[in-house]
Symmetry: C2
Subunit: 714 residues, 2 copies
């Protein structure tokens, strides 16, 4: 009997019939919700639950009794408060070992249904009371992890109740009420010394770990999506591979847009907007180019109730949309250069595993398309744009990148050559293509293609086919930034892209605090925010009523605000504020008189430090390798290989195959996937000179041309 059969049988015994049962792959937690949302068998709407396991402090000799909390995804769970209520000491997130010991399960498989008559008595189970009173359906994994049942909240409760014993009663907790209790500061506590206060905060700090729930080093993919969701950056959407960009992430995109627009305007690039639709006839005109995209093109075939005569594609990129009009507009060398850019959405219906920001079916980007009379002008612009991309990453997002050229295999289909900025995600040791600037050469302008030419100004009897570039930067920028800077407390935003750079939190207000002093603190926070805004700092005073300072600290830490300023009665008296850096956690007092100079300076320091740390890490993981036997161990060590390379495509194919050989067959995201060339860095001076005819390719032994970065990648 499979576990899903066994569980449905148990439920049937209680006269419980699941609203639906879905069978699926043993997907990771991050993909599970998406799997359900895109399944046609799933109910129209449902919620998911979180099942968390904690270990209270136990004498070393005693058998630990884990605490299992089952709550709605949106319920704010304060495990400390739960522990206090149940008289459990120092509740901590349970280790993976404990999980497998007790439940023979990893954390991704946790679900209320994993509790059986055997395991239940060994744990303390807490059940979010709002589940049973909700009219929602809840998606619950069966023990097998490959089935999901959709159940009423009251039925989940009914099931758990069948398991409870005299010694192990089911604890139903109203978390809203618990929160209100724990936020009401009892008189006894307000008298406590500041030291006590700090410990309170520390505990709540601990709760953040619970909020993110998954450690970056342990389950990077799970951590990533959790950070995005908890920081209000993004939400999953019910069309697979599409995501909602919430204001907290979209505002970063707006900063990038404004900055980039100003720069390209100086270069004479103008913004425009071309239609999102391409007729199949036009799309298929450039065979080499479209071959790279055609498996991913979304087709509109129907409007209202009418079938279209001819299917119409949604742009995967706009070369074929724009260039017929370039041919029309460019009639003389006086019409050159033509430099257009657009900010738009494009669709690439990827069938690989989608990942927010990194690989999505619809994404936002800018695409620049420029036309020149000469190759020299085109070459020059390719590099100027690439350097702007570098600046977006390094100067705005504090993300180090390496500039270089792509191998023939990795270049843009249909172009002449592709330049790239390559990033690096240390946690996985994988490279990530961060932005590309292509020289298309005359491949699109030649007569059998779009036929874009002018009379050669030097020889009017000749046609001069134009030289073209295209270059694009997408919202992937945001994903890379999150992966590199985020930590187990949540997001960490570089000041230059943070929509709130400084949050000011009033502290130390107790039941004893006079209304007057309370107001004085609150006013000072407000005043401070205004003073900072007047010098261009994006500051916000968090004066929300009904939330503890600890809650606010967590909230803003999770959202990655670069700097927190605290103002309490003592600060007020000393005319100072306490600064707390998000990136390092370093706290330091600051005289209020100095804020207008010190805060902007501190933000600059944070920005610079974040970049420096990330760059040091990147460089330390860039390993010079000259022997094939060192390649795979280096990759396995989460590093990027830089090696002398012959630049031959067959050799690149071979490297990919040989570096993956040891891995089981699985998706590209597996850490043991094959390596590909990331780029041939422009700056070769970092490594010893390649001696023609002497330096050999580390992979195949033929003559090497240049040092090339190889790595596993996104």
């Amino acid at each position: 009997m499979t576990s899903v059969e066994s569980i449905t049988q148990s439920l049937a015994g209680l006269s419980i019939q699941p609203a639906a049962v879905i069978t699926h792959d043993a997907t990771s937690a991050a993909n599970w919700r998406e799997t359900l949302q895109t399944s046609s068998s799933a109910p129209q709407s449902f919620e998911t639950l979180k099942t968390m396991v904690y270990k209270p402090k136990t004498a070393k000799t005693a058998t630990p009794i884990p605490l299992v909390i089952i709550a709605r995804e949106n319920t704010e769970v304060n495990s400390t408060a739960v522990g206090k209520k149940l008289n459990l000491k120092e509740v901590r997130v349970a280790s993976e070992d404990l999980l497998s010991e007790f439940f023979a399960l990893d954390k991704n498989s946790l679900s209320p249904l994993m509790l059986t008559a055997e395991t239940y008595p060994k744990v303390v189970t807490v059940f979010d009371a709002s589940i049973a009173s909700s009219s929602s359906l809840f998606a619950v994994r069966a023990r097998s992890s490959t089935s999901t049942l959709f159940l009423q909240g009251k039925d989940i409760l009914a099931y758990l109740r069948t398991l409870q014993t005299q010694d192990a009663p089911l604890q139903e907790i109203d978390f809203e009420a618990l929160k209100a209790e724990s936020e009401a500061v009892p008189a006894s506590q307000t008298k406590a010394a500041p030291a006590k206060k700090e410990r309170e905060d520390a505990k709540i700090d601990g709760a953040v770990q619970i909020a993110i729930g998954i450690k970056k080093e342990v389950d990077f993919a799970g951590w990533y999506t959790n950070v995005l969701i908890k920081a209000d950056m993004l939400d999953y959407y019910n069309v697979s591979g599409c995501y909602i960009l919430r204001p907290w992430s979209y505002s970063i995109w707006e900063v990038i847009q404004d900055w980039f627009n100003a720069r390209i305007r100086e270069m004479g690039v103008q913004n425009a907007y071309f239609p999102m639709f391409v007729s199949s006839r036009v799309l298929e005109r450039e065979k080499d180019h479209i071959e790279g995209f055609s498996p991913e093109v979304a087709w509109v075939t129907r409007a209202g109730q009418s079938e279209l005569d001819e299917p119409i594609a949604i742009r995967p990129t706009s070369e074929t949309v724009m260039y017929p009009y370039y041919a029309k507009w460019i009639k003389s060398h006086r019409d050159l250069p033509l430099k257009l850019n657009q900010w738009n959405n494009v669709v690439r219906w990827e069938f690989k595993n989608p990942q927010p920001f990194l690989r999505t079916r619809e994404f936002l980007w800018q695409e620049g398309h420029t036309a020149f009379l000469t190759k020299e002008e085109a070459d020059k612009e390719v590099r100027e744009i690439l350097d702007l991309y570098r600046q977006v990453y390094e100067d705005l997002l504090a993300v180090p990148v390496i500039q270089g050229v792509k191998s023939e295999k990795e270049k843009f289909a249909g172009g002449l050559y592709t330049t790239t900025v390559e990033g690096f995600v240390p946690t996985t040791g994988r490279g990530i293509q961060a932005g590309t600037s292509h020289c298309l050469g005359q491949n699109f302008s030649r007569p059998e293609m779009f036929n874009i030419f002018v009379e050669d100004p030097n020889d009017t009897t000749k046609k001069a086919y134009i030289w073209q570039n295209s270059w694009g930067l997408s919202t992937r920028t945001i994903g890379v930034m999150v992966m590199i800077h985020g930590d187990n407390q949540g997001l960490v935003l570089p000041p230059r892209v943070a929509s709130i750079q400084v949050v000011i939190v009033p502290c130390g207000v107790t039941a004893k605090t006079s209304d007057e002093q309370r107001k004085a603190i609150s006013d000072k926070c407000d005043e401070l925010a205004n003073v900072l805004k007047s010098v261009g700092v994006k500051a916000k005073a968090d004066l929300r009523e009904g939330y503890t300072p600890g809650f606010k600290f967590n909230d803003w830490e999770q959202k990655g605000v670069p700097l927190r300023l605290e103002i309490g009665p003592a600060d007020l008296a000393k005319n100072q504020t306490l600064t707390v850096r998000r990136d390092t956690g370093i706290k330091a007092p600051l005289p209020l008189a100095d804020v207008t100079t010190a805060v902007p300076k501190l933000l600059d320091t944070i920005q610079a430090d974040m970049f420096k740390r990330a760059q040091d890490t990147y460089f330390s993981r860039l390993k010079q390798v000259t022997r094939w036997e060192d390649v795979v161990p280096t990759l396995d060590d989460k590093c990027v290989v830089v090696m002398p390379w012959c630049e031959e495509e067959a050799c690149e194919d071979d490297i990919k195959e040989r570096s993956a050989r040891s891995a089981e067959p699985q998706d590209e995201r597996a850490p043991s996937a094959g390596a590909k060339s990331l780029c041939i860095p422009f700056d070769q001076s970092r490594w010893p000179s390649i001696e023609p005819g002497k330096t050999k390719c580390a992979a195949c032994g033929k003559d090497a041309k240049r040092w090339t970065m190889f790595g596993r990648s996104y």
Copy 2:
């Protein structure tokens, strides 16, 4: 024998086989190109020709000999220069009378193939030499106007050559060479007095009329598309109903975006981005709402080679995309208000006649979606946003609008009520819905819909369903602005949205001008541009070589630049510049010392004057009517009716029918189409008080409620 048969027979006699022949409706010139581009029988690429007829000055008693010029669409035709070359005097655009007299054709039917053995000897025919040497195919209308042939340039030439006689030889002209000749200033002319110089410019000014080609008052639709294309605002695209927004129009949209973003940010609205795709299940959840859109929804059914399990819609608007997530995010009254906005593209696959900016299948807009605890807050915001829309029109685009509420019939499907800003296009006498701000009430939040509620803060036992608004403003703004301000010289841009507000043109440079003086003028233009830029004026010095001042004047007038500054040797000597207003043509000298204050002031004056003139016109065409018999004559007089109205839907249906009764059955764009309610103006004080029970509905005689605007509309 039909004319297409007769012409193909003539061609066959010359062994000419058209590459393709398309049969179509007798569409207007503006739609013809689109008809061809969207026809599957048309060749992949082709050019069109322009055939222009002029009348040289002739003695009153003599029979005029028209001049027919056949040129490529992109060839710059200077009819004055042609006239000079052929010794024809004062070449003027021919009247419609002349056309019908000579060719029994209107100007939209002109084509090289209209010339027959009978008509050819009576005219002088000029043929653009670059046609015959081009490898393009050319689309040429047959005499019937309902067929188009695609021919090689050399074949068109061959056909025309069969018609020529000793007395009427075909004049082949190389227009590039002609231009070079006419721009080379002969020594004799440089000595001419300034008066002579001015006349030269005046002649070239005359050429502008040829460029736009169609008079606003005569063929408004043709004029509109011509202005858009000639001013580089827009180009037609090969997917019907989709258009390319070129930088000259897109920059206006960017001005609107920046202005509106700043205002809504102050109101606490945040920008976000939701996916463009909607699953059919979700889309169809709100029946009333989607009924309004479903005939126009574009469906994606295939990705690459795979059929999708379920078709996915492209958003026609995002209520159903967003509100499931509002339900998820709004859990407490503390989460309210929620105010999100997005700038995006939406698709409504209209089957009506598309019109650039006004009715397009894909368009750009912003859509705001907000949620409140109370109706009062929602009501307040609806009006605040509407007033922002008014300001976009009135303050940025100098377009007057009237604010009011839509009738039940005209309101947003699924909403509670719709407020609107209504514009007016004087040339056609038709109203135009310019922007709408909807209160959705609780229609989308109620349990059977998206079920968005919070605990009522005043009575925690109750659910409080939220109140919602949605509001949108699209690129239609740009179309309205063009229609209202453009003239027969081209576009007229209000200074606040012009990407170039002031163009500075060096003048009076002749062959005799010393290099030194030439440089002094050029430097002064540059300096002036920089001085103006330093005070925030978007100025540009047009220092292009190889173009006459006259050509530059036309170019910038056509593109609608609000103010031209001319600097010639005399100006330089007097340290002044000549200002020329685009809106009025008024010229006035201005001391260079005053430019930093006078130019910004003049731009403000232009902006204010443009608005005032448009508003005076609007108000003068808003006719108070109380008797039914005055309604249709008022509409026919290109006015909007304001009448006491009962506000009943049946009455509105009846008004539409009765006001259209006299018209033939034809598309909505016909001037005789039925009238609908445009809005019930908020400001009723403009008209006598409605006396309850006494004032009667002008249409049905029942009790009137409020004064309501009725009109034919876009």
